[in-house]
Amino acid sequence: MDTPNLETKEVINSNIQMEPTVMNDTTRRNADNLEAKGESGLETRGVHAWFDKHHALADVSLHFPENTVTGLIGPSGCGKSTFLRLLNRMHEFIPKAAMAGQVLFEGNDIYADDVNAIDMRRRIGMVFQKPNPFPAMNIGENVVAGLKLSKIKSDNKDEVIEDCLTRAGLWNEVKDRLKSPGGSLSGGQQQRLCIARSLALKPDVLLLDEPCSALDPGSTLRVEETIVQLSESMTIVIVTHNMQQAARVSDYCAFFLSDGGPGHLVEADLTTSIFSNPKDTRTADYVQGRFG
């Protein structure tokens, strides 16, 4: 990888024609936020993860402030995706998976006995690495699939479909063919359809697991624009292998690393600081493409 562009996120973002007002809005970005232990947003405290006897992730404490984008970066196998799946209890679907620590959502531990994991997943949505629209459904049905799964009655499905597709930046491309199958779209459109599908449940948090790794650069750009726009109204956590992407979309960055043992958090800070002035030399080496 080339030496990443260490200039500020604003400069990079101007290349993809973001609204300048959005990108210059620095009020919500503050390094202190990462330390803030409040009732807001999503927070992990001393989180560990195991697969059977394999200790995959050790002692991660992070705070995701409300309405910000946090990028999780690090080389393959460092536990980023595992960590992401811990945040909406998808981890427990893997046989023999275990965890320790706390994940606090609006101050409540989502792993507490009295928490309904299904309701919780409706509020913390997830988009996967590989676009996965439901093949048996058309585009419109895909958008409201979550409502159907959750047995949420909606009187104005058409409005929900239009609203979600618009927010996912897909409406203009598909408005004339909502009845065609989801699989007929291009990879990038499918991924935005998956984002729209998550939005239909009105989540407070959206988790994205390398959402662009299967996409071409043009589609990647469209998805990134979508992410930045969505971050005005929801908390976003994105796993990415792409340093430029992390620089373009995220407000904060968390660098994970596994040096033989379990993956752990090396450093978390404002994205601009991570790229221009990292505290740890390993972070500097990684973001400058010297390994990983």
Binding site: F128, A145, G146, L149, S150
Partner: protein
């Protein structure tokens, strides 16, 4: 324009096989053709032996409801038709599939998505064992154990549902009915359908199941939304395989069904039959001419099961291609 003489001469593309490859190819090809040849020979043999019957009776052999060999010395007095038996085959098989498919879906989904791992291994082994039980055992058990139970069920069933023609029994005789044979056949085909269903359900894409969960779906939601639609055509193939077995079943039906040469839609009444058990019943004491008729009946059954199995593999293959 390219001149003809400028077009380079095509080179011959030869792929040469090693000796081992050639021998292996021969063996495999022979084996593959052998099964086709056997199948063809069986069909040809049945056609050859039964041809006279088809030319004597034509289509009425398939639709007729009378089986009367008449004067054994004079074949022109015989009236032979397997219509009732063919209908019996269809009715018992349909009853079997109607009962077996929902059960198989439930068992397969339980094994794949709900059962603990140990129980899963046990259940799978038990199902394989059930599939291996000889049909005569099923038949004896059906006669000795299932018959009284079904008889007990049939009486109230008839009382409540006799406004539907197929459930009414004017004769009042229940016992060895198509319903009993159908239930028994269902038990025999459940392992087959379950094993196919289990295979297709286990291949349901993990990422779509995850997507359902991530959208706040329950396990049942994920199954209904992803697994069942995904397995639909594979399941149809499995049901067809089960249907093929039910159509051809002989001994179990022979033991649990009264052979009566009348097309009988009253599934609770003690009358019916199927082609296979007709052949088994009549074969021992058949006259030469009747034997030809049994061969012809065999050919009809052969073609019907072949057709069902072809449809099954066609549907299963089509579902594989979608994957």
């Amino acid at each position: 324009m390219i001149q003809d003489d400028l077009v380079p001469q095509h080179r011959k593309l030869v792929s040469s096989y090693t000796l081992v490859d050639r021998i292996f190819r021969r063996v495999i090809t022979t084996g593959g053709l052998f099964s086709l040849v056997i199948l063809g020979l069986i069909g040809a043999f049945l056609l050859y032996r039964g041809f006279e019957i088809f030319s004597d009776f034509g289509f009425s052999f398939i639709t007729g409801e009378v089986w009367n060999i008449g004067d054994p010395m004079d074949t022109s007095t015989a009236v032979l038709g397997i219509g009732a038996m063919l209908m019996g085959s269809v009715i018992t098989s349909v009853i079997a599939i109607v009962i077996a498919v929902p059960c198989a879906i439930a068992v397969a989904l339980f094994i794949e998505y709900y059962s603990p791992k140990r129980l899963r291994l046990i259940l799978t082994a038990v199902l394989d064992l059930v599939a291996a039980i000889p049909s005569v055992i099923f038949g004896i058990w059906g006669y000795a154990v299932l018959l009284p139970i079904i008889e007990d069920w049939s009486v109230p069933l008839e009382r409540w549902l006799d406004f539907i023609p197929i459930f009414s029994v004017p004769s009042g005789i229940f016992g060895r009915s198509p319903f009993l044979a159908g239930v028994l056949l269902a038990l025999m085909v459940i392992p087959i359908v379950t094993s196919v269903a289990r295979e297709v359900y286990s291949q349901a894409p993990r990422d779509l199941i995850d997507a359902s969960y991530a959208l706040g779906g329950t396990r049942w939601g994920a199954i209904r939304n992803v697994v069942i639609p995904f397995g639909r055509s594979g399941l149809v193939g499995g049901a067809m395989l089960g249907l093929g077995r039910a159509l051809g079943e002989t001994v179990a039906v022979y033991l649990t069904l009264n052979l009566v040469f009348d097309i009988n839609f009253r599934i609770l009444g003690s009358a019916g039959g199927n082609v296979a058990s007709l052949i088994a019943t009549k074969f021992g004491e058949a006259t030469e001419y009747e034997l030809k008729a049994l061969m012809a009946a065999g050919l009809v059954l052969f073609l019907v099961t072949l057709l069902v199995n072809f449809m099954a593999s066609f549907i299963v293959n089509r579902s594989r291609k979608i994957l």
